[in-house]
Symmetry: C2
Subunit: 281 residues, 2 copies
């Protein structure tokens, strides 16, 4: 499907993408680059990439550029990449925030027909090249947020690519994507970090915590730098989501304070029913 | 270890306790009772109990009474049980809240030397007699909160009992227990219910939620009635915990609003480090 592929960012997502591309035999040559030289060496040693990319030694354009870095770094990693982008190069990403990332991509590459911001809803609380999993995207949704400049050919190519990796495609605009992800991903991360911080503030004995606490705070193991970056990039959607969540907590608090068992039970039962209907138990 | 055992409440905890007692051959006869007649029939059919207990047909006292009902029901289920309690009967429970439950136990049975409130930190998001697991308490901590009236013999017997079921004993006063559990259990439950409710309020497409959302909201599958009951019973510790958590969220919100990447990253990194050091990944 692709002759030359460049993966920018060789962590969990970039590494998993490389493994998945190889597994599906979708690329002739996979080059990689990372701001962290240790990650570059590790990715090379693990065979995730055939070689590291060095601008000065390479004139050939890429057929696919996959950007898997924190949102705030997208602008800088794409800056100056135009010489390696031919008219049909698919340039896509894996960021959890789309509107600001799409702007950064356009700022770097203009109205390139191959620009197609994307977000595979797949992740894990591990990080670094060694955490790559070839099946990370299998069975997962990938949200594509095409721009006005994105060509039908690029959309079709991206759909073929992700389908070949076992993912299924959902198209959405960047704004609704960012509002949805603030709610179903960025908020839960902040709640997990916040719960652990409160426990630390109070010197709580976490050796007594049960499996529920571990599930509820698993996301607090995700890299702090990455998630601070995502929260800041998505501040426009995340701040009102935090306000709405604080309002929900105040509502529960008032029911507890006033001993309103009926209202409290009703609120919890509504959530219980909806959560029980989600697959995976 | 026990001749006659009565289990009051035949849900996840009562059912698991019955299975674990049998597995360890600790009881000659296990009787059970539940406010829900369906649960009684199910427990009998599953062989969790040898027979259902009926007050009017039984004069013999019990050697162990295990109360596994929501906190608000403890007073009513123990009321009038004195005739079945002999001086050495161990009367214990599994409630997630201890101070109000200890008061209810004393109100029903006075300063009985065998009164020993307990809380096995073990659970799951399933419920009912069929959810019982014989290994639910294996490897888990059990917090004992002895009263002034609790005899050394009762403490020793309870320690032997839980140790035989594979649990390990932690002794604590009821107040610190309730503050700790508000933080490491009751708060995470409310955050899970609240997150799902906010998603419902916004008509979010939960089919797009990833494994992180599922972990973060798994506790929202717990029975709403039970958890409303626990939250109300522990209001004294839970309300200030909710206030402190809202304060933590407001702190994170302010860091995001003002773009204070350093402070935000530092807060998240502190939690990441602490969570990573908890066993179970």
């Amino acid at each position: 499907m692709f002759d030359r592929v460049l993966i920018v960012g060789l962590g969990l997502l970039g590494g998993s993408f490389a493994l998945a591309l190889r597994e599906a035999s979708l690329a002739t040559q996979i080059l990689g680059t990372d701001v962290n030289p240790d990650h570059e060496c590790e990715a090379l040693a693990l065979g995730l990439v055939s070689a590291l990319w060095e601008r000065q030694n390479s004139a050939k354009p890429f057929d696919l550029i996959f950007v898997a870095v924190p949102p705030s770094q997208v602008a800088s990693v794409l800056a100056g990449l135009s010489p390696w982008v031919h008219p049909a190069t698919l340039v896509t990403d894996a960021c959890s925030v789309k509107a600001p990332v799409a702007s950064a991509m356009q700022a770097a590459l203009g109205n390139h027909a191959g620009l197609l911001p994307a977000h595979p809803i797949a992740g894990w609380h591990t990080s670094g090249p060694s955490s790559g999993r070839r099946d990370l995207f299998a069975g997962r949704p990938v949200i594509l947020t095409p721009l006005a400049c994105t060509s039908p050919a690029s959309r079709s190519l991206a759909a073929q690519l992700w389908t070949a990796l076992g993912a299924h495609i959902v198209e959405m605009e960047a704004g609704p994507h960012d509002a949805l992800l603030a709610l179903i991903s960025h908020l839960p991360h902040l709640l997990a970090y916040g719960t652990v911080n409160l426990a630390l503030d109070r010197d709580a004995d976490l050796s007594l915590a049960g499996p529920g606490f571990r599930d509820a705070t698993r996301l607090a193991q995700c890299p702090a730098g990455l998630w601070a970056d995502i929260a800041l990039a998505n501040h426009a959607a995340l701040l009102p989501t935090l306000d709405a969540f604080i309002h929900e907590l105040q509502n529960l608090k008032e029911a507890i304070r006033s001993g309103n068992q009926g209202h409290l039970t009703q609120r919890l039962a509504r959530a219980q029913q909806a959560r029980a209907s989600l697959s995976d138990g």
